[in-house]
Symmetry: C2
Subunit: 124 residues, 2 copies
């Protein structure tokens, strides 16, 4: 893993902007500092960071582009407002209704091992 200017810039953009930018938005901002950076590099770097667990990829309903966020390690849900399209990080520990959010739909995706495969892994 080499430390390149491109990677540093992309990381910095994610660290400063906590608005869940798309790859294209990151690219546009990165160009202001490194005019010759390419979109491929942005995509490649983001994918590396996701694999390494440093970055989280967010795929909201109805959006074709993925969004990215630094992985803070804290569990939180992503709330998207259908009126203003803003995305909020919300704690999973607080009842949302109480703070004024109107929840219309909840999607939960869980990843891991099912009982059968979990069993196999233990045996192996």
């Amino acid at each position: 893993m080499k430390i390149t200017k491109q990677r540093e810039v992309i990381y910095e953009i994610l660290r400063k902007n906590r608005n869940h930018p798309t790859a294209l938005e990151i690219f546009d901002e990165a160009k202001r500092i490194l005019p010759d950076i390419s979109l491929s590099t942005v995509y490649r770097t983001l994918k590396d960071m996701v694999v390494h667990g440093d970055v989280v990829e967010i795929k909201l309903e109805g959006e074709s582009k993925a969004r990215y966020d630094l992985n803070t390690g804290e569990d939180h849900a992503h709330f998207k407002c259908r009126a203003c399209n803003r995305i909020y990080d919300v704690s999973l520990m607080l009842p949302l209704d109480l703070v004024g959010f109107k929840v219309e739909k909840v999607d939960v995706y869980i990843y891991g091992l099912c009982p059968e495969c979990s069993q196999k892994e233990v045996t192996a």
Copy 2:
């Protein structure tokens, strides 16, 4: 909304297969009954059904194709096993650990109105 053979077949496939098929899988199965059906029609029909709330679109991490499931009205999460890739519907009311699932990651997406927009809607 016309009732066509194509729509009936697609609906039946979704009713019988509760394996969260992709559009292509639905298409392949539909061809066995309607050899001339087109993939476009499958996509168009699924989209209509999603808009009407009859079908739920599922986008799992790492999968490029969307999956589809009849909307049963019951809230449930989707569990994907990283070993066998099977997708399970799991109740949101039971602690998963207890039934042998090894949970490694949870993604929660919430949709609705944020406090600010919720307020505006009341005032309007």
